[in-house]
Symmetry: C2
Subunit: 278 residues, 2 copies
């Protein structure tokens, strides 16, 4: 296999290592997001070796996709990625993610989706509109974005699925960042062909719920008008930046050099820090 | 049964309607708290008809116990209660609780314990040190009180219990108030005598964990020295007061008049608002 040739051909939206339903869902979500926000987004200008990269031995592959919002848009940027890593135990780890960050002209929540598949039958789903304010001090904000939007209903629906169990991130900081309606579940499909397969669960349960939550985010957050005073913008910036710095520290900063070597990790983290502006 | 006579005889620490292990646990926790903080606490000065009260028909009984901290103490007050309500469906609802609030000379977390038993085999446990700051903006605070104290370990231990399932409060505000290491579980013991009874689970699992978490609170929060600047005290007061007002609104304010009639509800809520100073 010619890896350089593969690199030039592999696109973010190919999602080449995941199942059909998983790929279809990601393509659908990216397409919904980019169609709805398209006129507010600049093209992806990442260098080719950040849009697609791999480790030296060719066991780990990944793609990054970032589009910044126009200066006139409340969208700061959207960020999509996929990652495929062969596991030393056999099998592979596949992560696909899509997130969308708003800038400080609005205080509306961001969008966050992550699908972490560590075996053919096991999936962790993280799906949330992370709040950008302390909800305890701002019950009106909680009411507007989480209560009135009935965001707990899709969480409850998935909670009823026998294969889904609540998932607790090992990072207490990540647990603090998410909203009280966050969907954090580990789905374990049965390996013996009894019951639904993971592909069926993605198609019939995860997919509809992810689309519903993205729809709420697009309607109420990305396209909802909010007034933000000057001093509140400074507060939002401080909180937004801290979350970005901590996310890099907890997640990417420790794992990327190990998975892709120092050079690729530097390139990719550099591109993320640039758009994060931290 | 002479209800007035019963009223004068029934004490908070009697916990007269719950099982032996449940009662022993509550008595142990109250005693640990009052022994350790005793010299900082004023006696309970609630009127007798607030220390013990009931509804007109004598189906619902409750007790409230409040001791304020001395002016020199970081303890604002401790609040204990129990409640017994006959259910229209037969059976009874029994709630016992113990909480401890610090004042604004410290920013350390509060202590919160609630045991909600709605049937002989079903128990909801709420056990937490609710933070008094936005953890997203204060990762050092998260590190000090939740990471370094390893407060997630007892949560994980209880999570492994087959009879325990994560519990989600119906109030999104309450979900926002608790910490990322909060223990929020519904324990369903088997009714058929197979496996552990609820009493055994309280004695062997809930009890040791509740004592451990109270120990952390006493060592690191009630007795740990913290420096709090003047402007931060105003922030803490705003946040503390908002939580108290919302707690009354969500929980007590709507349920007490229904369960105990308007007169008893007014008396008891009045006493709570007085110590809450909201």
């Amino acid at each position: 296999m010619d890896l350089n040739n593969q690199a030039s051909k592999t696109k973010f939206t190919d999602f080449p290592y995941v199942s059909g339903p998983h790929r279809n869902l990601m393509v659908d979500l990216v397409s919904t997001l980019e169609t709805r926000l398209g006129s507010q987004l600049l093209p992806c200008t990442l260098p080719p070796d950040v849009q697609y990269y791999q480790n030296e031995t060719g066991t780990n592959h990944a793609s990054l996709h970032i589009r910044s919002g126009l200066a006139s848009s409340p969208v700061d940027f959207i960020l999509g990625s996929w990652l495929h890593c062969e596991l030393p135990t056999g099998g592979a780890l596949n992560i696909t993610s899509l997130s969308s960050y708003l800038n400080q002209t609005t205080d509306a929540p961001n969008f966050l989706l992550e699908l972490i598949q560590s075996s053919p039958t096991s999936l962790v789903l993280i799906l949330d509109l992370p709040p950008r304010k302390d909800l305890v001090l701002h019950p009106d904000y909680l009411q507007t974005f989480y209560q009135d939007t009935q965001l707990d209903t899709p969480r409850q629906r998935l909670d009823k699925l026998a294969e889904a169990k609540p998932y607790f991130s090992s990072s207490l900081y990540i647990r603090s960042v998410v909203s009280p309606t966050a969907i954090l579940v580990r789905i374990e499909a049965e390996a013996d062909g009894q019951g639904q397969s993971l592909e069926e669960i993605i198609e019939n349960h995860v997919g509809p719920i992810a689309k519903e939550v993205l729809g709420v985010w697009l309607d109420k957050c990305a396209c909802g008008k909010r007034e933000v005073e000057e001093d509140e913008r400074a507060y939002l910036k401080k909180r937004d930046d801290l979350i970005k710095r901590k996310t890099i520290e907890i997640d990417l900063g420790s794992n990327f050099p190990r998975l892709f070597g120092p050079d690729a990790a530097d390139r990719v983290l550099g591109a993320i820090k640039e758009v994060y502006r931290v």
